[in-house]
């Protein structure tokens, strides 16, 4: 039994797994509570540069090592990015060149998202998986 548990765990770590989403920072793509998504870890493990602009990725938070966050990639290394066009977290003329090995992430719900506008470009080494599919909420009719 231990062996099966270990095998399942390793599968979840290296190939792919199903995760629960929590938080309002990716509305309307994901609901604030209760969404279940499928992550693809193999693509990142085999080739860490496999990320493109517009991908949804899960990564370890740069400001809290115990936390996993899910955001969208906006910029790749070498891009020049406008930090915040709305001017809320930075002057709207501020632009940043993304250093080598880093990406710019952003939550879809910009009003309630703590992302690269707050902590700058994040290292690609923090990315764990790409989100590929959403399992539709199963119990929405019963609630």
């Amino acid at each position: 039994v231990v062996n099966v548990a270990c095998a399942l765990h390793l599968f979840g770590e290296y190939v792919g797994r199903i995760s629960l989403m929590e938080g309002p920072s990716m509305l309307p793509t994901f609901n604030a509570h209760g969404d279940i998504v499928l992550e693809n870890r193999l693509a990142i493990r085999l080739n860490p540069d496999n990320i493109s602009r517009g991908d949804l990725v899960t990564l370890r938070s740069p400001i809290d090592p115990n936390r996993i966050i899910c955001k969208r990639v906006l910029g790749l290394p070498g891009d020049i990015i406008c930090v915040d066009p709305t001017g809320e977290k930075a002057p709207s003329t501020e632009h940043v060149v993304i250093p080598q090995g880093h990406i710019w992430i952003s939550g879809d719900n910009a009003a309630m998202s703590r992302d690269s506008r707050d902590y700058g470009p994040v290292s690609m080494s923090l990315v764990q998986a790409k989100v590929v599919a959403r399992v539709r909420q199963m119990f929405v009719l019963l609630s």
Binding site: C6, L10, S61, I63, S125, L126
Partner: protein
């Protein structure tokens, strides 16, 4: 399955069967790793001719499960600029500390942000560390060095400087190690206990 093929697989089967458990144990507890490069001389890989490489025993439990990071630990971390590379460096500063970087760095004093650490290699000139790319997120740290496994002459826990009874170091290497330690600590001002990251 015929009995002949069952016998052929039979000898390898226990190994394959227990492989997942073994892998999980390695991943969450201790794992030996080869240390390459000169950036941690003379603590690790002191021989510049690179004829051998040190093998160290790295502890993943204290990082992944207990999340204990201390200043002065030698850790292996994934490089923030190259996701395929692992670096072995020493944690010099934790979040909230003020660090005076040595060598070419754009700022004179750096405050380590929340959730980050300042890592440096012991050998200043051959080291790819925070002096090059700044504070690194603690989430990149993978394991902590516990002891050396190879070569035999230096197997064991990393040497702590030996002191004579009146507090002076015993050997020249110890004095040098103490000097390096003091240089490191002089450049770090620890965060006060009331530091509030937000």
């Amino acid at each position: 399955m015929s009995s002949a093929s069952a016998l052929r697989l039979g000898r390898a089967w226990p190994l394959l069967y227990w492989a997942p458990t073994g892998m999980v144990l390695l991943h969450y507890f201790y794992t030996p790793q080869v240390i390459t490069g000169r950036s941690m001389q003379p603590t690790l890989n002191p021989d510049s001719s690179q004829l051998w490489r040190d093998v160290g025993l790295f502890d993943r439990f204290s990082i992944h499960t207990r999340h204990s990071f201390n200043r002065g630990d030698i850790v292996s971390l994934r490089s923030p600029v190259d996701p395929r590379r692992m670096l072995v460096k020493r944690i010099v500063g934790l979040e909230g500390d003020f660090v005076l970087p040595r060598g070419p760095y754009p700022e004179d004093a750096v405050r380590v942000p929340e959730g980050h650490a300042w890592v440096e290699g012991d050998e200043g000139f051959h080291s790819d560390d925070s002096t090059r790319f700044g504070p690194v997120p603690l989430a990149l740290v993978d394991s902590k060095l516990v002891m050396l496994l190879w070569p035999w002459s230096r197997t064991g826990l990393l040497d702590q400087p030996n002191f004579t009874k009146d507090g002076t170091p015993m050997r020249r290497e110890d004095m040098a190690a103490l000097e390096r330690e003091r240089n490191r600590q002089m450049r770090v001002t620890r965060a006060s206990k009331t530091y509030n990251p937000s």
